[in-house]
């Protein structure tokens, strides 16, 4: 009983020595912080800024978005609103050189294609908790986190973004 108590005490004292070793070692190791204004962090891969749209590979003005609405539905803060229009694209007329059908009947005119197009992607960044559910759930990887570490503003209005608008602006640059 008593020897057990003393054994525990010795273990405890030794653990304190181990603790000193840990801090002593870290004291000797080089620093891992950055002197901010003179040096900046270059690796921003893991930085979560507000979400942003990813453009198609061949068109810098069109997002990959297929308007499935997953992001809007999954957002726990309800900060995403998607606005879209449905546009009809007339189908390409049948080529005239095609031989007429055996019965000589004319083919029925092809139906016009209906295409949904994103017009506005509204993000109320005031509400966003940066949980990333929208980014995770996007089936076509059309959303990512932006890397703007210097985002700042003076009013709420400055954090209500239309991501389509910013995307168009970025495309023109």
């Amino acid at each position: 009983m008593i020897s057990q108590t003393f054994k525990e005490a010795v273990t405890a004292v030794w653990s304190m020595v181990v603790g000193l070793k840990v801090t002593g070692k870290n004291f000797m190791l080089p620093q891992i912080t950055v002197h901010y204004p003179r040096q900046v962090v270059t690796n921003l891969d893991t930085f979560r800024g507000h979400i942003d749209l990813v453009v198609k590979d061949d068109d810098p003005f069109k997002p990959k978005c297929i308007l499935c609405g997953q992001c809007e539905n999954n957002c726990p803060s309800g900060c995403i609103t998607i606005e879209s229009v449905t546009r009809e694209i007339p189908a390409a007329p049948a080529p005239e050189t095609a031989p007429p059908g055996p019965e000589g009947e004319a083919k029925p005119a092809p139906k016009p294609k209906k295409v949904k197009e994103l017009t506005r992607f509204l993000l109320d960044y005031n509400l966003c908790s940066l949980c990333g559910l929208c980014v995770q759930n996007c089936p076509v990887d059309s959303l990512r986190f932006s890397r703007d570490v210097y985002l700042a503003g003076y009013s709420r209005g400055e954090f209500e973004f239309d991501l389509m608008e910013t995307l168009q602006k970025r495309g023109k640059k």
């Binding site: 005490a9 304190m16 603790g19 000193l20 840990v22 801090t23 002593g24 870290n26 004291f27 190791l29 080089p30 620093q31 891992i32 912080t33 002197h35």
Partner: protein, 331 residues
């Protein structure tokens, strides 16, 4: 140049020595306060892999001076409902007795404020005033954090003073003296001639109690930032806080100086004995205390008192009895 012998003719030499010692100590305490703040922050930084202060002056050396200027420049606010007299008496009471603690410490053979054969007793007696200051501070400021901090300070200081005294007493038994100069003289210049080799347990106990007595982490419960805001000095602004701060560092220097004298041979050292050996040993101990602070988490209050009453006190008692026994038998 005026003749000092004529000027000082009517003044007793001992008084002149005391006044000079006090002036020297003021400079010593002030400069050490600044230096130790810098060292503390640098050590904290490097332990946490940060640079510590580095913006103001080379390596941030000017930082503590700038901080001191800020503290001096701040308004001294007295909280509503506070006992004004006690509230402002407390920081003075914390700081002024510090000089008394330094006076009998022999920094070298001749560099000592007051040669007295009861130096150790003087230090131990007046070191107790610090806890009174903390108590008054906590009571006077009409703040629950302050009061809680003061209560803890009293319980802690009263508890830890006992094993500290017993550990010191063991050395006193062994050398047969309360005179710090005599205790130093009995030890030799080389480490194996120091008291720490004869009294390792006493040194261990003394050092733990010293850390607790100066309210340093891991025993910094009276100011416990995370629970009590700032504990006993919650309501103090400007130099009110500054004096407590300075007193804490000065107390650290005192306990390390006493440890140096009692256990590490004081100003004695190889090759050339002198005040530099004293300072080297003292600063080494101070560094260890600072190192402790950035290593150990704060203990809980029951753990603090359990450690004292169940371990330190019986151990120091056994150590003292063993010392007395050995001294009686062989000396």
């Amino acid at each position: 140049m005026p003749d000092f012998n004529v000027l000082l003719a009517g003044i007793p030499a001992e008084l002149t020595r005391l006044v000079l010692a006090l002036i020297g100590l003021m400079a010593f305490i002030g400069l050490n306060g600044l230096a130790l703040v810098w060292v503390e922050r640098k050590v904290a930084g490097h332990v946490q892999r940060r640079p510590g202060p580095f913006e103001v002056g080379p390596f941030g050396l000017i930082q503590p001076i700038v901080d001191a200027v800020k503290l001096v420049g701040k308004q001294l606010a007295t909280p509503a409902g506070a006992d004004k007299f006690l509230f402002w008496l407390a920081p003075l009471l914390a700081f002024l007795p510090i000089f008394l603690l330094f006076i009998p410490i022999p920094f070298s053979e001749n560099l000592v404020g007051l040669n007295t054969n009861l130096g150790l007793l003087l230090i131990l007696a007046f070191a107790g005033l610090n806890v009174l200051a903390l108590c008054l501070a906590g009571w006077g400021q009409n703040n629950k954090w302050g009061l809680l901090g003061a209560g803890r300070a009293v319980a802690q200081s009263v508890a830890y003073e006992i094993p500290l005294l017993l550990a010191v007493l063991a050395v006193s038994f062994q050398t047969g003296s309360l005179d710090l100069a005599a205790i130093t003289a009995k030890q030799g210049p080389w480490p194996w001639q120091w008291n720490i080799l004869v009294q390792p347990l006493a040194f261990f106990l003394y050092f733990i109690c010293a850390v607790a007595e100066t309210n340093r982490a891991p025993f910094d419960l009276p100011e416990a930032e995370s629970e009590l805001t700032a504990g006993f000095h919650t309501e103090y602004s400007g130099m009110g806080f500054g004096l407590f701060f300075l007193a804490e560092y000065a107390n650290m220097i005192v306990v390390c100086s006493v440890a140096t004298v009692l256990f590490l041979g004081g100003w004695q050292g190889p090759i050339e004995p002198g005040w530099w050996w004293f300072l080297i040993k003292m600063y080494a101990l101070l560094l260890v205390i600072i190192w402790f602070r950035w290593t150990y988490p704060r203990v809980r209050f029951d753990q603090l008192l359990n450690l004292n009453w169940k371990w330190l006190l019986p151990l120091s008692m056994v150590n003292l009895l063993a010392t007395a026994f050995v001294v009686k038998l062989f000396a």
